[in-house]
């Protein structure tokens, strides 16, 4: 009798445990990271000056990646803000420079190697940028508005590896705009003409990788520390354009640090 009772208890517990597992349906894996960083920047805009300005940059990156379990597609959202105060060679003038970037896109995932340790994503982003330069010295053409949107092929590779009994992850992402649309004054056109007089002259420019060859890339390592995961990495942000007779670039190389959260969205049936 006791054996029968013990069997029934074991059976109920087993079945209920199984039933309980069945009601929790994992749907999405969401990975968010928030990072801040500091680095060097090299800024050129021949509309304002033929000189390159160099200085320190502060950068913030917030990134979210979501993937439905069992689905090869994942989506990504990136919000970036960078601010800098670079100076000219002679240190007689500064720029106030800043850019807000928002990207949203889809990737197709390839899970490779044993235990899917290597993940490669190929996809594209819609990439919107708004910012500008302001020269603290010039009075007549003191600033340059930066506004452009791109369609940007994107590749991400991440590899998980064990170390010191924990799982580390190294990740690389590169986004290079293929084509887009950019605002730009013409070579010697003033903002007074454009905005006060309404005289436009090819100010909305169709850009390609040929005239606006740019690249954003990030190499990072996720380091588990206790229950948290720290992400440290390098960001290279190379935004360039040669349109309307105006050459411009902003080359940033920054060291980033932040935290990553990875959580699973489940549904109870």
């Amino acid at each position: 009798m006791f054996r029968v009772l013990l069997f029934l208890v074991f059976f109920v517990l087993t079945v209920s445990a199984k039933a309980q597992r069945d009601t929790l349906l994992a749907r999405n894996i969401t990975t968010t990271s928030n990072m801040i960083g500091i680095g060097g920047v090299n800024v050129l805009d021949t509309y304002i000056s033929p000189e390159k300005y160099r200085g320190t940059e502060l950068r913030f990156i917030s990134m979210t990646e979501k993937r439905r379990l069992g689905n090869a597609l994942s989506y990504q959202r990136i919000l970036q803000l960078n601010l800098s105060l670079p100076h000219n060679r002679a240190r007689t003038a500064d720029y106030l420079a800043g850019m807000l970037n928002y990207s949203w896109g889809l990737h197709y995932n390839f899970d490779l190697l044993d235990e899917k340790r290597l993940n490669i994503k190929l996809g594209g982003l819609a990439d919107a940028n708004l910012g500008g330069l302001y020269s603290t010295r010039s009075s007549n053409n003191p600033g340059q508005l930066k506004a452009y949107v791109n369609i940007t092929p994107s590749v991400i590779a991440s590899y998980d590896f064990p170390l010191w009994r924990r799982v580390f992850s190294v990740r690389y992402e590169a986004d290079a705009p293929l084509f887009g649309v950019m605002f730009s004054p013409h070579y010697g056109q003033s903002y007074y003409e454009i905005f006060s007089e309404g005289h436009t002259d090819h100010n909305i420019v169709f850009t390609t990788i040929g005239c606006a060859p740019s690249l954003r890339q990030m190499l990072s390592v996720d380091v588990p520390i206790g229950k948290a995961t720290m992400r440290v990495g390098y960001v290279g942000d190379f935004q360039q354009a040669n349109v309307n007779g105006i050459k411009s670039h902003s080359w940033s190389n920054a060291f980033m640090i932040g935290f990553v959260k990875r959580f699973r969205m489940s549904k109870i049936r």
Binding site: R89, S138, Y172, A176, Y187, S196, E197, H199, D201, S214
Partner: protein
């Protein structure tokens, strides 16, 4: 294939993708700074062709003329002087070279002519009971027969609002006419020029054109873009207006005279304006000196440059006899126009 190979497979080609968009900075040497300055003007200055026609300016010859001097300077002060002399060849009040120790300028356009304005005379006429509305100083002039309104605008760097203008014109509405004194107005905000002119026309009028450079060549310009003045949607002045000018009316004030003279009831009295018919841009040299130059030319309704000034309808100078007697000849001429010449 090893995992590292997968990463490198993407990393290497993507790093090669962006070809550099870059320029070769001129070296911060005597020659480098000289070439940088000459090149900035050569590629961006908008009046090289016009001034070649007007007085034979040859910018390539200027290079040869000053390069030798620039190569032999021994101090930055000498270098600055050579550069200033080279820029003076442009005969342009909008051209400046600015260092920590000096500001090179070309002021012949007013320094070599009669001032035709005097602070002491102005003080006599203004008295102490004038009104101030933003950048506008105004009062009534009352003589035996008439009351005439007077507004002095000494600069377009001090702004005035639409409300300022409305109140001033309202307070002067009982006057037979209006004297708009722009003498010694060296310019400032171009938007104020348009704002002021919009009070003196009843219809949309063509007042001129402007262009901008589209490339490095001396003749690489955009098409002529029209400039209009549209009537202000509110209080406007429909009675006669006399605008007073002298050689120190420059830049945005020069543009304002160009716009005002297209309005129906406006007469320009005084001396030729100083000019400055190019919207200035700024740039810099490797050594950090700032350089300013004319970049976008303005034209009158006949597409003629206004870089060297605008002739008045009535040329009047302050005579030395009047000056001794405390009389502003130009202002008195304008008052006489209302009392005798104008209906």
């Amino acid at each position: 294939m090893k995992p590292v190979s997968y990463i490198l497979m993407f990393l290497i080609p993507l790093s090669l993708l962006p070809a550099c968009v870059d320029v070769d900075e001129k070296p911060n040497t005597r020659n480098g700074n000289f070439e940088a300055l000459w090149t900035i003007i050569d590629e961006h200055y908008c009046f090289l062709d016009y001034k070649a026609q007007e007085y034979g300016l040859d910018w390539n010859a200027v290079h040869e003329k000053y390069k030798e001097r620039a190569d032999t300077v021994k101090t930055v002060f000498e270098q600055f002087r050579v550069f200033a002399d080279m820029l003076a060849e442009l005969r342009d009040g909008h051209v400046n070279l600015t260092s920590d120790f000096d500001n090179a300028r070309y002021w012949d356009w007013h320094e070599k002519f009669s001032a035709n304005f005097s602070d002491s005379l102005h003080r006599i006429y203004m008295g102490t009971d004038y009104g101030i509305a933003g950048g506008l100083k105004y009062r009534h002039f009352i003589n035996d027969t008439d009351t005439i309104g007077y507004i002095y605008i000494g600069s377009f760097n001090t702004s005035f609002s639409e409300n300022n203008l409305t109140y001033v014109l309202y307070l002067l509405q009982d006057c037979k006419g209006l004297i708009l004194d722009l003498r010694n107005n060296g310019g400032g905000l171009l938007t104020l020029s348009e704002r002021l002119a919009s009070r003196f026309t009843e219809k949309k009028i063509l007042t001129g054109y402007m262009r901008h450079k589209r490339g490095r060549g001396h003749s690489d310009f955009s098409d002529f873009e029209v400039q209009y003045v549209e009537p202000f949607d509110g209080l406007r002045w429909t009675k006669p207006v006399v605008v007073l000018t002298n050689r120190s009316v420059f830049s945005a004030a020069n543009d304002c005279v160009n716009r005002l003279r297209c309005c129906e009831n406006v007469t320009v009295v005084g001396d030729r304006t100083g000019g400055g018919g190019g919207l200035p841009f700024s740039s810099e040299l490797p050594n950090g000196w700032a350089v300013r130059f004319s970049a976008c030319p303005f034209y009158d309704v006949n597409k003629k440059d206004i870089e060297f000034g605008i002739e008045p309808d009535y040329k009047v100078d302050i005579t030395s006899e009047d000056y001794q007697r405390g009389v502003d000849t130009i202002l008195e001429y304008a008052i006489d126009m209302f009392t005798s010449l104008l209906p």
